[in-house]
């Protein structure tokens, strides 16, 4: 990589199922103020933020170009602002590219979503489908995940008990994370007894509807020390987009994730992903995705997701010590929150969930039905 780029600070609101007391602009402001307090960064023409990259979803916000409704908190008044409507982790990729190109030195990434505003998250993801061929049959991201989960369970020997184990651990980890004040512990029996949504996905296998905001400051190497003495370096990035129609893909192949990981590992110079990371933060929107994405990342043996859970792989690999997406993040912020959580670990600021001596991490984001689009970011501290 030509010009090194670091995350200098991260900030998040708590994630709750209904932040009725806050507008999305207000959630973003809370994050911005925290970032300014941590780094002293401002929006001055010479030394301030060169570009803001916002992350938002117009349908969830129920506004066209919804970022235009919050230029003040984005620092976008008379400034340079751009929006990512793909998975939030793409804003990181975008910021990295802008800094590496020499165009910018200092970037604010700020994402928000109030999923609770809409009557149904499934109705939002339903309109991601084609009006002639896939919408009429009622597809939404949950239904697509059901199709993928069924196929993956058959291939990797994943049982209802395995999935319950994933959920129990996610909840337990989340209770140690103050960003998830509403999450409580749960027993495997309760998970197995929860109703089916789309077989084999149960209600408690699915990430809850949630509201929240997340942000970070990215800086070019030569300016990093102005803002932090604990930079988290972006060592590799990769992403890949799979086919739109579900039938055009092999839903269990992890094609896009493998490609994304391969690209990130190549850039980071990682040869053995199994030994490369002290912790892994992946966007597990549904419980089956935790072992499945770990297979795709090459950290868990392909087709061995069930055995990996039996052997306590999730704990051994320090997967989602934050609680992960299963604890509840807005869909569009998944990967960005994972990056923020990984950065906190690498800054030794993860409190009760701190992985001792964590020096390297992987963060993952996913968007689109049944994992159409994957992003992988590798991170390291000094």
């Amino acid at each position: 990589m030509v010009r090194r780029v670091a995350i200098c600070a991260v900030a998040q609101t708590t994630y709750e199922q209904d932040k009725w007391y806050e507008r999305f602009q207000g959630m973003a402001l809370e994050v911005l103020e925290s970032l300014q307090e941590q780094t002293g960064v401002d929006f001055s023409e010479d030394k301030g933020i060169d570009m803001t990259i916002s992350v938002s979803d117009d349908v969830f916000d129920a506004r066209t170009i919804s970022n235009n409704a919050m230029t003040d908190v984005l620092g976008a008044h008379f400034g340079c602002e751009e929006k990512v409507a793909q998975e939030g982790i793409q804003a990181l990729y975008y910021g990295l590219a802008a800094i590496q190109s020499g165009h910018c030195d200092l970037i604010l990434v700020l994402g928000h979503c109030k999923e609770s505003q809409g009557k149904s998250r499934n109705m939002v993801t339903h309109v991601a489908f084609d009006p002639f061929y896939t919408r009429p049959v009622g597809l939404d991201f949950c239904a697509a995940a059901g199709l993928q989960a069924q196929a993956y369970a058959a291939k990797s020997g994943i049982t209802d008990e395995h999935l319950a184990k994933v959920v129990v651990r996610a909840r337990e980890n989340a209770t140690k994370n103050p960003n998830y004040p509403e999450v409580t512990e749960i027993t495997a029996e309760e998970v197995v007894a929860s109703e089916m949504l789309a077989d084999p996905i149960r209600k408690l296998h699915a990430y809850p509807v949630s509201d929240g905001a997340v942000g970070m400051i990215l800086a070019a190497e030569e300016r990093v020390r102005e803002f932090t003495d604990k930079p988290v370096w972006i060592t590799g990035v990769g992403n890949c987009m799979d086919s739109f129609f579900l039938g055009d893909r092999d839903l269990t192949s992890n094609f896009a994730l493998k490609k994304a990981a391969e690209r990130a590992y190549r850039r980071a110079g990682i040869e053995d992903p199994k030994a490369a990371f002290d912790l892994v933060e992946i966007s597990d929107q549904y419980a089956y995705q935790q072992p499945m994405w770990m297979e795709g990342l090459g950290i868990c043996e392909a087709g061995k997701g069930g055995e990996w859970i039996d052997a306590d792989g999730p704990a051994k690999n320090n997967v989602n010590t934050s609680g992960g997406m299963l604890a509840g993040n807005p869909l569009i912020l998944g990967g960005l929150v994972r990056t923020a959580e990984a950065a906190l670990q690498l800054r030794d600021e993860a409190g009760d969930r701190q992985v001792k001596g964590a020096g390297t991490a992987l963060a993952h984001g996913v968007m689109g039905p049944a994992g159409q689009f994957h992003s992988v970011v590798t991170l390291a501290r000094d």
Binding site: P136, G138, D199
Partner: protein
């Protein structure tokens, strides 16, 4: 600043925008062929030989223009994956639970996502052969195929709806024209040779002025509804009640209808409202029934 919820003003809104979508030239040909000829067509890439459906004009692998390479696909195919949708949303085409499947049509390489009906949820399997059932009314979308049904491996007896499959509001009926021979045979079956049913001269002296059928004869027409249609084979009738409202004359066509009105969760029994009407839509009788719907067959149980 107060953060009490009652001080927070909220407004109900709705994001609804009438919209016109263009299917594209290639998509239009696919949809028109589906609508007018009930033919499902695929597009073949002559370079990699892959046959795509839904249609697109370019092969995503080879970047070859394929928009002219139409091939006819069969109306049958194989299920390559499925899920059972159990949560309810307004955008769903049928009421859950229902089977959503990936179906590779014979002749195509890319499975289509569609609904499968006519198979118990617990019997659904990858590899099942299914065929397209076309919709009676076109919506110029993939729903011109209403759903898919299993082709073979039909059970010897099509069992009726189980308690879980039955929903309040489901109804079924059976119609039959009552003839003189029906009445005469029913007299033999029941031993009721009452001349009001059999002797026209006697019947002239009754308030009806002519022969009428035994009350139990039209009433019995509910049996094929309950036992063979709704719930169907395997049903046990616990109680059938009827109040007669009008006579059935020879030549009348009686329609017996049963509708599910209540599911008794505790016993897993179902209460049905019954009506009998004639060809003039006059109510002949009304009543109710209490039934035990069929249990899932042993080999169909999970």
């Amino acid at each position: 600043m107060s953060t009490a919820r009652e001080d927070c003003f909220t407004m109900e809104g709705k994001l609804a925008l009438p919209y016109q979508y263009f299917a594209g030239l290639t998509g239009s040909r696919f949809l028109i062929s589906l609508r007018d000829q009930k033919k499902i067509k695929g597009l073949k890439c002559n370079k990699c030989n892959k046959i795509f459906v839904p249609p697109r004009s370019t092969c995503e692998i080879c970047f070859e223009e394929i928009s002219g390479n139409w091939v006819d696909l069969k109306n049958s195919g194989t299920v390559t994956g499925f899920t059972i949708i159990r949560y309810e949303e307004p955008h769903q085409p049928v009421k859950p639970p229902y089977i959503l499947a990936l179906i590779k049509l014979d002749g195509a390489d890319t499975p289509l996502t569609h609904i499968v009906k006519g198979v118990p949820l617990s019997k659904m399997k990858v590899g099942m052969k299914v065929k397209a059932m076309f919709a009676k009314k076109s919506t110029s979308s993939i729903m011109d195929i209403d759903h898919f049904r299993p082709v073979e491996g039909k059970p010897k007896f099509e069992m009726g709806y189980t308690y879980d499959e039955l929903e309040v509001g489901m109804s079924a009926s059976f119609s039959k024209t009552i003839s003189e021979s029906d009445v005469y045979l029913f007299a033999g079956i029941s031993g009721d040779f009452n001349p009001m049913h059999l002797n026209e001269e006697f019947a002239k002296m009754t308030p009806f002025g002519t022969r009428i059928a035994h009350g139990a004869l039209p009433q019995s027409l509910i049996a094929p509804v309950l036992g063979m249609k709704l719930p169907g084979l395997g049903t046990v009738a616990l109680e059938i009640m009827a109040r007669f409202k009008a006579p059935t004359y020879f030549g009348d066509t009686i329609t017996a209808t049963g509708e599910v009105v209540e599911k008794l969760e505790k016993k897993r029994w179902v209460r049905m409202a019954l009506t009998w009407t004639n060809q003039k839509d006059e109510l002949v009788a009304e009543g109710s029934a209490l039934v035990i719907p069929p249990m899932p067959l042993p080999q169909q149980a999970e």
